[in-house]
């Protein structure tokens, strides 16, 4: 079986994951963006242009943190996996698929204990979170961006799932861009929450919808574990270091 990492390192997959999973966590990030938006001054809230700029900056900050985390995971992956060559890569690919499948089961409501994965980032969050609180009330765009940077490290099982996917990208740079693609996927739901709060919240609470998203994530996990099953694979990563071994 030819080795093909194209699927798991696909930015499209990361974007789709972000898009699908973000609707699930509207409750968490939705309330944060709602809090941030309403705590802005009435002048900012009264102007669509200014409000959009602030909301965009919050999210740019969040995406910056996602990219940093992705780059970090990529570096760790290259240090720990490189000595084991293709076998090491395959191991990390399977581990990533297990985490993705678990998050799918979690979203579908079949594996609530997956939420314990959030404990992973709790220590870092406890150190960062006070800096974030000091930035509130946010009064300028730089503060909005910096708050977003802190917000990006909020313990979240779905972000960790995306990081597991990013770890299979093959390099720090690609891991960072995988996380960027994931973050961009979350933008419509997180930014749209102010506009379509009712619709999105209702959608995110529908059991059938959650199950559909969960099954989608499990399918992605299966394809990630067995890339040769995926009909969309276009091998664009032939120059990856792992293939050179």
């Amino acid at each position: 079986m030819p080795f093909d990492p194209a699927f798991t390192s696909s930015y499209i997959v990361a974007f789709a994951m972000g898009l699908a999973s973000s609707l699930h966590c509207i409750g968490m990030c939705g309330s944060i963006i709602g809090t941030l938006t309403l705590s802005l001054s009435p002048n900012v809230r009264g102007s669509n242009y200014l409000l959009s700029a602030f909301v965009l900056n919050y999210n740019l900050g969040r995406l910056t943190s996602y990219m940093l985390a992705g780059g970090f995971v990529g570096i760790i992956q290259s240090i720990t996996v490189m000595p084991f060559g293709e076998h090491g890569y395959r191991m990390i690919q399977i581990l990533s698929a297990i985490i993705m499948a678990s998050s799918g089961f979690y979203i579908a409501g079949w594996f609530s204990r997956f939420a314990y994965i959030e404990k992973v980032g709790l220590i870092l969050w406890k150190k960062l979170e006070p800096y974030g609180r000091r930035l509130i009330p946010v009064s300028n765009r730089l503060q909005a961006y910096l708050f977003g940077v802190v917000w990006g490290w909020l313990p979240c099982g779905l972000v960790y799932t995306a990081l597991a996917l990013a770890a299979t990208a093959g390099s720090a740079e690609k891991s960072a861009f995988t996380m960027l693609a994931f973050g961009l996927g979350t933008l419509p739901a997180v930014m749209g929450v102010g506009i379509m709060n009712g619709v999105l919240t209702r959608l995110s609470r529908m059991k059938q919808f959650k199950k559909a998203i969960g099954i989608f994530m499990i399918t992605l996990a299966l394809m990630a574990a067995m890339p040769w099953l995926n009909p969309m694979v276009i091998n664009t990563h032939t120059n990856m270091h792992v293939t050179n071994h």
Partner: protein
Amino acid sequence: MDYFSSIIGKSPELESMIRSAKIAACTDVAILIKGETGTGKEVLARAIQKASRRANKSFLSLNCAALPEGLIESELFGHKKGAFTGANNNSPGIFKAVDGGTIFLDEINSLPLAIQGKLLRFLDSGEFIPIGETIAHKTNVRVIAATNTDLNRLIIEGKFRQDLFFRLNVVPLELPALKKRSEDIDLLINYFFKYFAELHSIPTPSFSKAALKVLKNYSWPGNIRELRNLCERLSILLAGKTIEVENLPYEFEQVREINKSENFILPECGVKLDQLEADLIYQALDRTKGNRSKSARLLGLTRDTLLYRMQKYGFGLN
């Protein structure tokens, strides 16, 4: 200082809610706390107030269900002398009295529709008109509301204003029911036992493993309040002792029976297994009105196994 340490628990659901609450506490936005009765909505509201910039200002907790409908408007927004029979003095109302502070409106679902409109106006502009006056007053009060019922259902029934719901629901914080975080029961018990031991100057009791299992399987309709009361009662009655299953109150009887049934003891006279099995299948089908999937779940079987056994004992499949 962590003002949220008063909320005991390590379950991911609770921790995630506290993370949102900490961010919301730093702002001045209205908050809606959702949760069943006894989940600790007021404790959370107080923690938010203490962690906010209004920590040194007044905090007032008001149960909307406890106020008579005719008085609630006057209580909240005040009245002018002579505005109605019995209004012998000017009353500033709670919103004026708490100026600069935080007001916690518990059971907001019980607020009459007319008052909901006034509250919405206050949340939007900070203004309200006391009864009998024509000029709007302005105050700076942060509102934290709480509900133990589904407001969406009340909106459909026409008992709650949708616009007020949207205004309050910007930061929804949902306190999970105790049955959904049974892993926190140990922590809560330890906390309450220690608290009551200090309060009443008595030695701390402890639960046996079997009793703890019963507590974890219990549905806790009264949530943390019910657990707190149980801990206080047992702290006093069985101070310094090990609490066994038999020491638990009557309401735990059902859970005790379920736990016992896990270890079925064969009677001395033996059983007719086929007859017993057929009887159990009959009872399950009777209880579920013939629904075979539900019956299979009740008996801990797969649907196919149930169908096979139904055939075996001559139950009509149709």
